[in-house]
Symmetry: C2
Subunit: 646 residues, 2 copies
């Protein structure tokens, strides 16, 4: 069969899914829902040939009539020609446009703060009088010159030893991990002998490289770290290559459980990370073989997929990870393109939905060292929330759904060029009180609305009275922008003639409902966490917001819709990507690395689905800003003022 317009041909047996055939042909068909037939994004047109549809649920009768089928729900029957519409291009602009800012050293760093070492050693060459084997000879000198007792080595290092010793004329540089057993350690854990990671001919003490990795469901980050100075010398980011196989962790888990899905997802994320490593090392003229360690943070599903561990049980009640704390292992075992023997240290998570990204985030945020009652939140598809201080920590995760990532919203999109990221409804303008202004990423014509734009829009609509506290659009308003659309009442943000798509960009009641559920889930998480320890949100002294998305949230507007608790602006701190930052500090410091384990151990996990508390809190939060208005005094004051002025 053939895929157009790429013109790629592929032979597949009858009964093969079109999506699989496309993949085999090397034609990208995005499946944000992971191939469950739920999202409708993988629609393709069968031009000739016979296929068999399993489901057309997500296609309109017109689309079906026009020959559209869902690639993930349609079997090939006979030789066919299939046309693939242009796919949502995933633009790699995560670090484009603006130069990434220099990362400050998190503490006064010394190379001795961490266990990676390089030593130069000169050996007496063997002779008839001293026929000691190469490996014993090296160990003897490491003991004499550097006080190292026992030392371990893997087969690949031992294999190269003889050549390297002779190539270096009996002077070599060894790379050693002084702490190879990894974490967690208890008082009884005996110290393990150091591990020889590499041996290089000659003396090469001037460099020592490692990387910090954050594997997000949406985006991946790699920081190249000079372990001698501790500095981050390159920051790279890209969308996770797995996105085409599912937007959220649930879709990925489902995809991983089918056929070769797990291996495929592992390959995809490895492809992304290897590309980022290649970019970082090229930028700094570093040989990837000289990267001897990687510390990895990410949510539990991402860590499972990265290590090739089946993640199924994460999704099924009672929601159990296979492994929260992976032991360190060599890079060659999963194909990460750094030195084959480089130590990969996956930071520990504590539960299926509170992963290493959160433990790393907490350590990097320093909330675990503070006396103040702190709320830490990482907002994305899932909102992970941690509350506590230096003496206790409690965490939960609430599934906000992908609305803040632009999915589940008709004109939603990711925060890339063409996305509306901020809006203002001109309440002050008496002539046209429901007119709107917006700011677009890249200053282009708008193509849709991203997460921060949606929060801003919902808040503005609420404050301007376009929607009521239940999120219903007031169709009686004297403006063309409110109207009855195909999916119920809607409000037009941008008209067809100003948009890049040639269509009106509007937000519908259904969209608003999805956003309402998303913000309610997060706020309910805050509430339940506080309640569970007998506190109220009013007791919280500071709110730390992590995650790349968090950086772009307008706090004032997030409070107006009841997404964030009503606190003074100074209480909020935006920390950016706390996950990669946590991986970085754990890489730099054995003590901070140990702290990640301790944080994991001290953190109590609250499973929100265990009883009805969360459900009740969620229902209470399904209003703007909340059923209990007393929790949002500043919003109430604003509304009162508007009412007076209006």
């Amino acid at each position: 069969m053939r895929f157009e317009p790429a013109g790629r041909e592929v032979d597949v047996p009858s009964g093969t899914l079109l999506s699989e055939a496309a993949q085999k042909a090397g034609v990208d068909v995005l499946m944000p829902c992971g191939g469950q037939g739920r999202c409708g994004r993988c629609a393709v047109i069968v031009e000739t040939g016979e296929t068999k549809r399993r489901s057309t649920q997500r296609l309109s009768p017109d689309a079906v009539a026009a020959g559209y089928v869902l690639a993930c729900q349609t079997d090939v029957v006979s030789d066919a020609v299939v046309r693939v519409p242009p796919q949502d291009k995933i633009e790699r602009r995560l670090t484009d446009g603006k130069r990434v800012s220099k990362v400050a050293l998190p503490f006064s760093y010394s190379v001795h703060d961490q266990p990676l070492r390089k030593y130069a050693v000169t050996l007496e060459p063997p002779s008839m009088q001293d026929q000691t084997d190469d490996w014993s000879r090296l160990r003897r000198e490491l003991s004499r010159q550097h006080g190292m007792g026992e030392i371990q080595a893997s087969l690949p290092v031992l294999r190269k030893l003889g050549h390297v010793l002779r190539e270096g004329d009996w002077t070599v540089t060894v790379v050693v991990d002084l702490d190879p057993l990894g974490y967690p350690k208890t008082a009884d854990t005996p110290p393990a002998p150091p591990q020889l990671i590499d041996v290089l001919p000659g003396e090469h003490l001037e460099t020592l490289w490692a990387i910090a990795i954050d594997i997000g469901t949406t985006s991946n980050h790699v920081w190249l770290v000079d372990m001698i100075s501790g500095e981050v010398l390159s920051q790279q980011a890209a969308y996770n290559g797995q996105i085409a196989r599912g937007e959220d962790v649930i879709s990925r888990i489902i995809y991983a459980s089918k056929g070769n899905g797990l291996a495929e997802l592992q390959d995809l994320v490895m492809g992304t990370l290897n590309q980022l490593i290649a970019q970082a090392t090229e930028e700094r003229g570093v040989d990837p073989d000289e990267i001897y360690k990687a510390t990895i943070a990410g949510n539990s599903t991402m860590i499972h997929l990265f290590t090739g561990t089946p993640p199924e049980s994460i999704r099924l009640s009672p929601f159990i990870t296979a492994v929260n704390q992976f032991p360190p292992f060599p890079a060659r075992e999963i194909g990460l393109r750094v030195n084959a023997e480089a130590v990969l240290d996956c930071l520990p998570g504590i539960a299926s939905y509170v992963g290493a990204d959160i433990t790393a985030g907490v350590v990097s945020s320093r909330m675990c060292e503070e006396g103040k009652l702190t709320l830490f939140i990482d907002i994305g598809t899932n909102g992970e929330i941690v509350m506590g201080d230096c003496t206790w920590l409690i965490a939960c995760a609430c599934s906000a759904g992908p609305a803040f990532e632009g999915a589940g919203v008709v004109h939603g999109m990711r925060a890339t060029a063409g996305a509306i990221e901020e809006v203002w409804i001109n309440r002050g303008d008496a002539d046209d009180p429901y007119e709107i202004e917006y700011r677009v990423i890249g200053d282009d014509a708008p193509r849709g609305i991203c997460g921060s734009g949606l929060i801003s829009l919902m808040a503005e609509m609420f404050v301007a009275g376009v929607i009521d506290k239940s999120g219903n659009v007031d169709l009686t308003l004297p403006t063309d922008r409110v109207r009855e659309g195909e999916h119920g009442a809607e409000y037009v943000v941008a008209w067809a003639d100003e948009s890049a798509t040639g269509e009106d960009i509007a937000i519908t009641t259904v969209d608003l409902d999805n956003l309402m559920r998303a913000k309610a889930a997060i706020y309910a998480g805050f509430s339940v966490l506080a309640e569970s320890v007998g506190l109220s949100l009013a007791d919280v002294e500071q709110v730390l917001i992590g995650g790349a998305f968090g950086q772009y949230i307008n706090v004032e507007k997030a409070i107006q819709i009841g997404l964030l608790p009503d606190k003074p602006f100074e209480s909020f701190h935006f920390l950016g990507n706390t996950s990669v930052r946590g991986a970085y500090v754990a890489l730099l410091s054995e003590e901070r690395r140990q702290r990640v384990d301790e944080v994991g151990q001290m953190m109590t996990y609250l499973e929100l689905s265990a009883d009805n508390t969360f459900f009740d809190a969620f229902n209470a939060a399904l209003f703007l800003p909340h059923t209990d208005e007393s929790q949002f005094p500043s919003v109430m004051a604003l509304q009162a003022r508007n009412a007076r002025e209006g």
Copy 2:
């Protein structure tokens, strides 16, 4: 190009060696010298097409005229058709014909003598109230139920954990190595946490399998061991698949240093071992995945090739191994087909030519526990000799050359069907005092003479006066059997009409010279070893003979030619393959395993090429039985009696 008679075609660039082209085409061309152009055994006929000969040294002018070339010394120039003569078939009869004898337990064995364990564990299933991850849950129960503290696991085991726990409905069997760091241990070596090797659904405590392996240059042995009873349940042996790439270790090392040679030799031995493992497990209905450990003995070159470690420095002065003691590693790293995570424990050698086969042999022989002064010898291509008792040990290796393996002797052959293994010259028969009787392996017509047959023949010829003490054939004797042949004086052992080849089977002066050098090298080794510690061979209280070949030596005749020291028959003990036996006892007992290390540490290695002592002793031994006749009183007495009777 094409190879006949197989009819295999292959495309190779001009300039490719014929031997490489043959290998690529899957056509076996034996290269006993490892492709050095020394042995002449890889001769093939170029029927059409152009080739370029590098050397024809080993071909007669007639052969060259007939189109013969050496495959290892000839480049392909144009498309060619090459005919490969029938290759010496390597017969796998090492264990055929006679049922292997049951191996007695070397001591009163208990499964607790060694560190491999199986435990059944039943876990509380996870719940909303206890969301502990699978891996922590398993560790928790191993600690509670079996008192195990920390435990390590590799990625492949962690990957399967979730599925296995659920498949076993939360009852699983774990396989653990309590001592994963391996040897050698010093007093400072902290105990390492046990290693989880496998996890199986349900309870399976009834079996626990491991194997003992001996990798000989010529033959490989695999013993399947029931670790619960300690019994050997299957013994398998085959010729090492590397033989086609070189008969001796030097040829293999040279072969390994060229192109892809190392990987190829590793594949070949792995192929042989995997075949033996398949046979052993089939015989006993065992799944190879249930073999959780292998203990491996072999000479240093064989261990290097098995692990894929370049062996070059073994052959070059000052003769250094890369690694005498490999740390344990999982089977998957080299492709041995047992459980992928099975622990492979390569026993330690002490020098390039005194390998793990000898340390293992010494431990299995128990000479290291005895008060008696003992001489241990393993005769093969190399003769490794150890002298000492429970308080000291000294070892050396002398290169005897391959004469005892039937190479370097015109009618020499391996000890397979058709080999003459014992001869008697009818000195008593006055009518025909130089007539001969012989015994052939398999009772066939003779095809050649194997090592034990050569020793027997040389001794009989010497005692009967067919050769003098320098090994010269007496052409004046009144028998047709002595004659001037193509290669000088020779003695006919079997006439053309009684042989399977249709040719006379004779032994020539050149052959006798090779045999003389072989026996002289070994005896010189004994002498130098004794001298080096201020002792004489007369002080030796027992002689232990290891090696498969050793078993078939007729001691009386070996003494007559001066190969073995002149001692009463009761002083000699034949131990058979002490190498595989040593691997077996090391597998069974942590204490014996530790003893192999201790033996390695206590054994002094004497490098014979370091000064002229060996050379002098070797020259003194180049006579029958020896220059110093006083060392062989029994042989002198026999000769005196024969002279009286003759």
